[in-house]
Symmetry: C2
Subunit: 311 residues, 2 copies
């Protein structure tokens, strides 16, 4: 099975308003709630692709309870979240129906105690025993050590479970030093990590720091992978309009499946790019459009980048 870890889960709330005006009062015309946090999105996509998938991480309080209820109703994802005393954060996306623009309000995460972190690590080790691959996703809530992902990567390596890391900032820097198999930063995260804005150069730098492979998402220009077996860039065959929320999480789902199966890198990248585009094309944030995925998969252009292949 595939395991995804979301330490800072979120209850994602979407409000529709006819027109958003700062400092005024608004009647919300529609309310939608779904379980959120990057690893939960990754798990939903993996389950939709037919993979047995388990989610773990931390959840608590009233928002955590709603999240777990909604997760229990989602097809194919098994809930192995660890309870905490604090309250899972909410995110509120306010969609302005007059323009389609979204205003985002993100609550701070719950304070996690050392005891809760220890309990999580015990559960994580149990779950690793059955995992074919694990994805570590998103930000760290307050209270966790900044090296939390580095710790989880070392435990996965000890258990011989391939591990993918998708985070940013200092947790990414510390995590890379613990030698994950794959990291998936976007161009901005990679630049922040390495100090260089040229993605191929930055990806080589990240590999030197410890990442087995670096897959950088380049937005509409697709993805760049710098790996021990070579370097490739994959580009979608056409521009897809829509909502980019969750596109990166869909790419992680494809990369995790490829990591577990040992599929060649060009195929992994093609799947990741097609699945990202199919997510942008889906009407609901964080879902993917299967017709777009099927039609695009064979048409993603994957080209070697020999100049950056070896470091």
């Amino acid at each position: 099975m595939y395991l995804t870890v979301t330490l800072n889960t979120a209850l994602d709330i979407t409000y529709q308003v006819p027109r958003l005006r700062a400092h005024e009062s608004h009647r919300v015309t529609d309310v939608a709630e779904r379980p959120g946090g990057k690893g939960l999105n990754v798990a939903r996509v993996l389950a939709a692709l037919g993979h047995e998938t388990v989610v773990t991480g931390l959840a608590g309080g009233p928002a955590g309870a709603v999240l777990r209820t909604l997760l229990g109703e989602a097809a194919g994802v098994r809930d192995a979240l660890v309870p905490i005393a604090g309250t899972t954060r909410r995110t509120v996306a306010v969609v302005d129906d007059s323009t389609g623009d979204t205003t985002q309000l993100n609550e701070p995460g719950p304070l996690v105690s050392a005891t809760e972190w220890d309990a999580f690590c015990v559960r994580y080790e149990e779950l690793l025993a059955d995992a074919d691959a694990v994805a570590l996703c998103g930000s760290l809530p307050p209270g966790l050590p900044v090296g939390a992902y580095a710790d989880l990567i070392r435990r996965a390596r000890s258990a011989r479970v391939p591990v993918l890391l998708d985070t940013s900032g200092e947790p990414l820097r510390r995590g890379i030093a613990a030698r994950p198999d794959v990291v998936k930063p976007n161009a901005a995260e990679l630049a922040q990590l390495t100090g260089t804005t040229e993605p191929a150069r930055a990806a080589r730098d990240a590999r030197r720091r410890g990442a087995g492979a670096v897959v950088a998402s380049l937005g509409a220009e697709g993805m760049l992978a710098v790996t021990g077996e070579g370097a490739w860039q994959a580009v979608p065959p056409e521009y897809v309009a829509g909502n980019p929320t969750g596109a990166g999480d869909s790419a992680v789902a494809a990369l995790l499946a490829g990591l577990a199966s040992g599929e060649p890198w060009p195929e992994r990248l093609a799947r990741a790019v097609a699945l990202s585009a199919a997510t942008v094309a889906a009407p609901a944030a964080g879902e993917f459009d299967r017709t777009t995925y099927d039609s695009m998969l064979g048409r993603v252009a994957v080209a070697p980048r020999p100049a950056v292949a070896l470091t």
Copy 2:
């Protein structure tokens, strides 16, 4: 005891953000939650003034459960809310720390079934047996008959319990026809009801429609009361800066206590104006500053309005 009715309770959430910009992403720096809906605010003020107070109305779903937990922690207010299958609405107030301005997002209320309304009416009748006065507060959630307040007013009159109505629109129009002892519209609500923007004229009109007394809130200009015993205007001694949220609910608390005790109208109005001002002066929305209340109470100017005294 005093009974307050809130059919459309709300979980009031306040977010602090450094600066709100439409169509951008924001990190919320502080989250506060409290039980909301006009009747719950009225009850909190009554309890703070030392009165035995019971709240009833409708609550359900995860937000309703949080609301009831928070209500249980509030001093002096007894929870007699009736459960419903739908989910209590949330209101989100986003406070921009750079300006102090608030952007408000109000979810729609839950759909209430006829069976749930019947169950509420049974509970309401039981509670009326011990009530010295009852306040009916706020909007009606979807599914309730537009004459719901009229029905509750008739039941209160049958039980010989004095009744105050604080709502707007068609529920106010229908409610007034059922002859409540007091209605407390603001100037805009009164104008909408009667078609005239001159408050004294509009208040006389509302009395002719069935209200025993009409107390119109005029913002910084205080309050105008048109009653069977005379008409008065009460004006605060000085301008008070602050947050006006809940000021009207504090006025209702004062008017309800005065209605139950039979205190003369000038004293009732002085209390209502002082308590409103003390609510504006309090740092948290919906609380009141006792020092302001005590200092202002003896200094509210109450003058007869003989021209509008009798209709």
